[in-house]
């Protein structure tokens, strides 16, 4: 057995000339799609928004009669679908600037917000900027190391706390919108003492502002509008949020965590060219296959590779782009990671369970793993001493 990030690694197998030619092909593909953007795309997003609004209104109305079980179930279904489409096919994509070309303020990334506890500004920073610029660079892309709360790559050093890895992962799926809402804080750094309370404040303010409004709407105002049946509406809204959380996190897990998706170090991505950036996006991402409905409900993140190459091209176009991208990858011998959704998700969870234990368990046998686990406190102390000594030496040299 081996871990995903090493055995299949195929970084730097292309010559500089090949890399540049490959980048040129992707640039040409992009230019062709950009030149073709127009009415079709504007109609598409407006149509999706109209459908989502109808689902939302229907869901809220049905939950009004939530004391009647079939109405409750139908209401939760409609509201879940509405929230999923709002977040995935509309919010995620509009906020990537995919529809900025329309020059319609309603569909301009900077003006948009979604039915989610994460503040739009916070997301534009953590996702659009950090994750999409530094995709899968350990130490730069917070997503690549499981948002600091799950161990998804060997590049994250093992610690006894990772014995709880599957629990962390499951909890994050259930509370996904709340997790992303505070991702900007990188609170694990605060608990490690690397970040001060003052540095946390601006992010916390944004969190309170946005999450407060969302909670007020779902857990106070709409239930209150149901009068005596408030508990049914309350539970319905909670269920819809849960369904959305489980679905969106699963979609996102499938994008970068399955076997075969690579991580990168800061050193190896220094002085990266535009073409090498494309190359990294492909190696670090994974697609999943499914029906048209799955594509829509995942915001076309089923084409995660295409999304990472061209994050600002309308997502429903990835399907047509994928044919060419796959063909280009084949010609250059670049791995194109694609599998059915269930298989990718299974691969992620397998990984999460595997990384629970020290890596030596798999490389040197279970006994070595056990030894590593048991000696962890001593080694940690040793490492700390070694670091302190280095400091002393460095300070002496400086003096």
């Amino acid at each position: 057995m081996s871990t995903a990030t090493t055995t299949t690694s195929q970084k730097h197998k292309l010559s500089p000339e090949q890399i540049e030619a490959f980048g040129k092909e992707l640039d040409d593909l992009r230019a062709r799609i950009v030149a073709d953007l127009g009415e079709k795309d504007a109609d598409y997003i407006r149509d999706i928004v109209n459908k989502q609004k109808k689902l939302e209104v229907a869901g809220r109305a049905l939950l009004w009669a939530g004391w009647f079980p079939p109405a409750w179930i139908a209401g939760v279904t409609a509201l879940s679908l509405s929230k999923i489409i709002d977040n995935m096919e509309i919010g995620h994509n509009v906020m990537h600037g995919q529809y900025d070309f329309m020059n319609d303020p309603q569909f301009t990334a900077k003006n948009f917000d979604w039915d989610n506890t994460i503040h739009a500004d916070s997301w534009l920073y953590t996702h659009n900027y950090v994750h999409h610029t530094f995709t899968n660079i350990v130490g730069k892309d917070h997503d690549a190391t499981g948002y600091g709360v799950i161990r998804v790559t060997e590049e994250q050093p093992w610690h006894p706390i990772w014995l709880l890895n599957p629990i962390f992962c499951g909890t994050l799926q259930v509370l996904f919108q709340w997790g992303t809402a505070i991702q900007e804080l990188e609170s694990e750094k605060f608990f490690r003492g690397e970040k001060s309370w003052a540095e946390m404040k601006p992010g916390l303010k944004r969190f309170r502002e946005k999450a407060g409004k969302q909670a007020l709407k779902d857990y106070a105002l709409f239930p209150l509008l149901s009068g005596p049946f408030a508990p049914f509406a309350f539970a319905g809204n909670m269920a819809a949020n849960l369904v959305r959380n489980l679905w969106s996190s699963s979609v996102i897990w499938c994008g970068h965590f399955p076997e075969g998706a690579e991580t990168f170090s800061i050193e190896e991505t220094e002085d990266e060219s535009h073409a090498e950036w494309y190359y990294r996006q492909i190696l670090g991402s994974a697609n999943f296959t499914g029906s048209h409905l799955v594509d829509v409900l995942s915001g076309n993140l089923s084409y995660q590779i295409e999304h990472h190459l061209f994050p600002d091209i309308p997502a429903y176009r990835y399907k047509e782009i994928a044919i060419e991208v796959r063909e280009i990858c084949e010609r250059y011998g670049i791995r194109y990671n694609e599998a059915p959704m269930a298989k990718q998700l299974w691969s992620v969870w397998k990984q999460v369970f595997k990384l629970t234990l020290p890596d030596s368990t798999y490389t040197q046998g279970p006994l070595a793993g056990l030894r590593e686990a048991l000696t962890f406190p001593f080694r940690a102390k040793q490492d700390e001493n070694a670091r302190d000594e280095q400091h002393v030496v460095a300070e002496a040299a400086a003096a």
């Binding site: 070309f101 020059n103 900027y129 105002l221």
Partner: protein, 370 residues
Amino acid sequence: MSRMQMLTSSRMGRRFLDSSFAAALATPHGVDRYVEMVDPLWSRTETRAEITDVERKTADSVTLTLRPNENWAGFKAGQFVKLSVEIDGVRRTRCYSPANSQFRKDGKIELTIKVDPKGLVSPWLLANARPGMIVQISPAQGEFHIPLPHPRSILLISGGSGITPVMSMLRTLTDRAYIGKVTFLHYAFTEDDVIYRDELAEIEAKYEGVRIIRAYTNADNGDLQGFFSKEHLVAADKHFAEAETYLCGPMPLMDGVRAVFEAEGISDRLHLEQFAAPTRTVPTDEATGELTFSASGEKADNNGQTILEQAEAAGLTPDYGCRIGICNACVSTKLSGITRNVLTGELNTDNDVNIKPCISAPCGDVSIDL
């Protein structure tokens, strides 16, 4: 009136839609997103208008009558609005002056649009504008209007489609029962090219204080022939130096009038509206022109760098992220001018459009909302 319409047009309905309670229910998308499901004109934030009438008064113009929604705050005769229409999925914005009186009773706006065969929006309007269509408009803008109290003598000069703001002034003055003297000197190729020909004749017949002088450059049946000159000015109003003059028309006419007023030493009496056609020449690689950061009021000489770099050099702190065109953090509205995408070399010549300053360099004068 349907029941839903009563709901939103009543004061109670409006108060509800503008309330923080409605906003909290509609969070984070805003009330508009849901109100629009019934009627786009009920938008609480955007000024939208329905086209109620489309007329072709001359061969190369189209006149639209718009019924604005209640966000429209009116205008002063001579001001312009930005009209936005969606062509092939992209919102395009152009400036037009309403030609109607600012006291028009039904509150509608009349825009007369001269068709530029090489343009994009005006030929599209000529071909596609039809009653029932919904467009966006901006609040009225511009300093080109007659001050209160009104001067006692007013001289209006226009050429071609430049007639629209001064037509609005003329109609407003007559509506207001203005008792001073109005002289209106209008230039056109021939009689058939005078957009408001019949109405001008009516006004002339009805109001004693209004004098209308038609100057034709390609025909000799007007009051005056040929292009603007000092002689034309004297013929139109020999006391022109005592009047306040309002001018709108093509560049050669504007330049001609400006030169005469300068020579007479009465430039301060001349007020004008400039509607320069958008530049269509492809600029060179040399960095020329001036970069205007309209939100902060800063200006900088274009040094050829990206707009983001030039903004930072000018002491501004615009939002940015990746600086390579991926993350959208820096996206801003380009108000006017031409920019070049430094990655693809593509030129962007449109106004009021989203651009990414981190990968856009200005070509000549550019104004950006930073």
